[in-house]
Amino acid sequence: MINSAFEANLVEIENLTFKRGERVIFDNISLSIPKGKVTAIMGPSGIGKTTLLRLIGGQLKPESGNILFAGKNIPLLSRADLYEVRKQMSMLFQSGALFTDMSVFDNIAFPIREHTKLSENIIEKIVLMKLEAVGLRGARHLQPSELSGGMARRVALARAIALDPELILYDEPFAGQDPISMGVIVRLIRSLSDALGLTSVVVSHDVPEVMSIADYIYIVAEKKVIGHGTPEQIRQDSSPLVQQFIQGDADGAVPFHYEAPAYRDELIRRVSK
């Protein structure tokens, strides 16, 4: 089972169940991330997309199920093995998570300095190349506190791709970007996978951008995968849930609200108290 999946899929999630306290976040879901492709994960806010990335990175342990990365079952790895596996992946955090005690340049140089023995000269070339790719070469001397929200996320993106790892997990790479930098980032993610064969997982709500870069899309809602396929298949999906999500209607099959009793009932209860 492991070896057959290993060829085409870098990450294989099988029958994963995850709970936060009593609350079930994922109920027995399975999905696979093909090697060298851009896979998008979409879904309403709070559904557990960030959680899913953290599960793949081994920062959270599932209740049950397997998360295979290149054939290794992440939840069962020892601490040392997990750190070994993580050298092959990187993650763009939703909050950016830049190191506040270092300049932009040092932030991006940090993983390179830690994991390679390259000379400072070469490191500088790599860092400037990555900064150029996100359009912030001029910002190399700034401190993270001096960046705008969108700039900080682009620096974090440059840091995530600094080592060109096998697997890159992007949590909301487009959030807070203007249309121009959005276009740049879309092309950047696409080209990393086309030119270098890196595997990308993109979590995002931006339907048009995702449709334009993803090779394969999973839509997650209600603790499950409600639809998956290529952008074309998703667009033609007959499921009302999927259609509602990509059209962006508030009223429909997908609940927009965090689990709660009906609003009407709650109002009546308050009045009658």
Partner: protein, 258 residues
């Protein structure tokens, strides 16, 4: 019944907290240090934990020495025993005040800062992002800070006692007119290396261990929100101060009571 339930819950969470603290300590400090990468990190922390605490230690040490000399002199002079001012000050500082006051100041100055720094790194996902970069935050962030504090406090305590004695000299000799030769020679005669100086060092090492352990644990284990960090910072100062005072009593009883 409800109280019982509450008590049980509190006890359980205390024990599990203690367990996490032990695990943190063990995994942060029990490993082969990487000299090439670790040394610059340690030096940087020695600066921010140790060197930056110097000022408060020197100023407080001086004042405490001066006050001791003033009080000591007014009492001793009544018995014509002002020649014992030197040893009185030196013994008070070495045996008790040096380790305890330096420890308390260190907890307030460096311990709280470390907790807040680590807590904020956690809240802004910097620790998670290190983990995802395959860099163990326990080694990269916690260990150098722990060791820096562990090395700094005994040195700061020694400095505290020294400037305290100098402060007492200024007040006792230069102001109140005790003979300088007597001040030093009687002190030399009365202070025992093993009993006083070594015990002072042992106390400061114990306090350093306690303060740093609490500080890094509270930061690493805090709830990653602003209230969580402020609570953790407060409890670092409160718990390490109380523990220093308790342990001081126990250590004194073990060291000085025959």
């Amino acid at each position: 019944m409800q109280q019982l339930h509450y008590l049980g819950k509190q006890t359980l969470s205390m024990i599990s907290g203690l367990g996490r603290a032990v695990i943190l300590l063990v995994s942060a400090i029990v490993h082969v240090p990487n000299v090439r990468k670790g040394t610059p990190l340690l030096i940087q922390q020695l600066y921010s934990v140790g060197v930056l605490s110097l000022l408060i230690i020197i100023v407080s040490g001086t004042f405490i020495g001066m006050v001791l000399a003033l009080q000591g002199y007014t009492i001793l002079v009544g018995y014509g025993a002002e020649a014992s001012l030197g040893p009185m000050v030196a013994l008070s500082l070495l045996r008790e005040l040096g380790p305890v006051v330096a420890g308390l100041l260190f907890a307030g100055r460096a311990g709280s800062a470390l907790t807040a720094e680590i807590g904020l790194m956690k809240a802004t996902e910097q620790l998670s992002s290190l983990e995802m970069m395959a860099i163990d935050p326990l080694r990269r962030i916690i260990a150098p800070r722990f060791w820096a504090g562990f090395i700094s406090l005994p040195l700061l305590t020694a400095i505290f006692s020294m400037v305290g004695i100098l402060g007492a000299h200024v007040v006792g000799v230069n102001w109140l007119g005790v003979d300088s030769g007597t001040f030093w020679s009687v002190m030399q005669e009365q202070v025992d290396f093993e009993k006083d100086i070594l015990n002072s060092v042992i106390k400061s090492i114990v306090f350093a261990f306690v303060v740093m352990w609490i500080a890094v644990y509270k930061g690493y284990d805090c709830e990653p929100t602003s209230e969580g960090i402020s609570r953790a910072t407060t409890s670092t100062v409160v718990q390490s101060s109380l523990l220093i005072l308790c342990l001081d009593f126990i250590l004194t009883a073990l060291m000085f009571v025959k």
